[in-house]
Amino acid sequence: MPKVTVNGTEIEVDKGTTILRAAAEAGFEVPHFCYHPALSIPANCRMCLVEVEGAWKLQPACYSQVTDGMVINTKSERVVKAQKAVLEFILVNHPVDCPICDQAGECKLQDYYVAYDSQESRLRAEKVHKVKVFPIGPEVLYDGERCILCTRCVRFCEEITATNELTIVQRGDRAEIRAFPGRELDNKYSVCTADICPVGALTARDFRFKCRVWLLNSTDSVCTGCSNGCNIHLEHFRNEIQRYRPRFNPAVNDYWMCDAGRLTYKEVHTDRLLHPTNNGAELNWHAVCETVADKLKRAIDEVGSDKIALVLSPQASCEDLHLARKFASDVIKTSRFYMGGKRDGDSDDFLIKADKNPNRRGIEAVFGSTTAALPFSQLVDDIEAGTVQVVYMMDQYMPVDAATAARFVERLDKLKLFVFQAQHQGALAQKAHIALPVCSHAESEGTFVNFEGIAQGFERAFAAHGESLPHWQIFMRLAQAMGKPFSYTFIQQIRKEMFAPRPDSVASGTAEGVPVE
């Protein structure tokens, strides 16, 4: 393995390591714009120039590989001069409109200017003007004046999505990023270009001007848009999610996530069920639990436990499902489960999975089998036949076609008791005898198991909306009200019990070390 010295620190690195990586391992940042670890290396921005002893010219650290005995200096006088020169060159025609730029606060140009340049502009001529707020795609806007032509976005479309929408047109100080005339930057992952654009040239239509980035709090979470379970930074301000950003996890989503998944946060803030109700009248949790307990007990006596059905939700966490299972078996004493959740949707061969539920494998893990729950369509028939007279339903999703769903809603009138425990209002909440508000994944912590069996934890970002509670806490309260309390104090106790770690699951979160983005 080659031994190299970076700014006097000697380290050993793998053969083929670039200078930039080696320097990072030795603890030195080499500033860079065009280099991105998941893309090819064009070495076009020249921000990463470093001095290599014995080499006459400064070397691009992003591209050059180390050799044994290499002595690298990332801070020498020549390097500092080159960094200033490169930044001055990039800024020649840059409008420096940071105060009205949505990237301010997470802009590499801004950060590097402060760290490596900090000199006044010497330009006295008028700057070249280019397009502003150009609709380059349905989800992304382009600002030609802020673009530093690093081609990260171009390479993303060539190498990651292979959709090739973008390129550079013109040359010199007229060069800009464009799609072919009449076409757009329109692919299922297009907003990733705004993530990797080091400056404010590409911004996401949904997020821009919603919130200054330095006001955001970031919580490690998992996208609930499909069973891929992309790792995300859930970024929020005043109890409201402002955006999702992909969180690096080489085992799941690398640096990326899909556009549709990115927008699923809107569900968290749409039509929420906020208070427990009994036949439409608001009650507090204590009173509603007593009522549910009462009604369930009566139902058990009248129709028998096995006519009571529990609809499981693959949208709920493993912790939720574990207590759902326990509540059914220990308290109600039924094993009549049906499968809820969202219907299948589109998929591709990259990240997007047809199963739009984040935790189907979690049901499998908690219940130990895939056949624990009967199909939802069966439930409609069973209500019709009278074999089910009480339904306890988690979440409002029905994995059936519209006609069957309508039939289900209609059949609800036949039930002795319909308890609906979900995040959202709607037809089901209206039909429910009892409606119990559940909080979203942003308001609780838990575990999802993705389609590959990888168990991933997500953190609580902010306080629950209204009086909503996580499913598992509601089951705790109900068990207590029914006189058979569960003995958990912390969610960790549930976690320990819910399923033995599977051999094919790996720990969540990022790989070793912080990635250089």
Partner: protein
């Protein structure tokens, strides 16, 4: 109407593609061929060339817009390109340019109202020994140098050119 090379151009196209290791490498000559065939490089032409070379259209776009010798707008039947680099400049290139502006009634970069002439200012065309000079590109793809120019010579040349281009197609109408 869908674009297509004429029989003659098709032969030329196949030949030049066969001379390069991959189709990307054949892009520059293919665009030149398309320009003489279709008059100018419209969006339609870029799409056609991309299809013929099995390249993504953005690859054609980036190359076509990078080089100034691909006309992204229709030019006149005769494209007059006057050199004003050092040797020509010293030998009166700018006077030639100004004279042409006057007699053609256009400014540099413009096309005359009758669609006959487009006037451009260009860099050295490697004819410094016979400076000042201009190059004329005709809409039938022919290229010719006119050298050792003076205002008077330009007038005679233009009289000849007027006759010569009378039968040429107007690039704007070539596809």
């Amino acid at each position: 109407m869908a674009l297509a090379f004429s029989e003659k151009a098709e032969v030329h196209f196949k030949d030049l593609v066969s001379r390069y290791p991959n189709t990307l490498a054949a892009l520059l000559p293919a665009l030149h061929l398309a320009q003489s065939e279709f008059g100018w490089i419209s969006v339609e032409v870029m799409d056609y060339v991309a299809r013929r070379l099995e390249l993504h259209p953005t690859k054609v776009l980036t190359v076509a817009t990078f080089y100034s010798m691909y006309n992204m707008q229709p030019v006149g039947k005769c494209h007059v390109q006057v050199c004003t680099t050092l040797t020509c400049a010293l030998r009166g290139g700018y006077e030639i340019l100004e004279h042409l502006e006057e007699v053609l009634g256009v400014r540099v970069g413009e096309t005359s109202a009758d669609g006959n002439y487009t006037l451009s200012e260009v860099e050295c065309l490697a004819s410094c020994g016979t400076a000042p000079m201009f190059q004329a590109t005709f809409s039938d793809g022919e290229i010719e140098y006119f050298e050792n120019l003076s205002a008077e010579r330009v007038d005679t040349i233009l009289a000849d050119l007027n006759k010569r281009i009378a039968t040429l197609p107007n690039p704007a109408e070539m596809h």
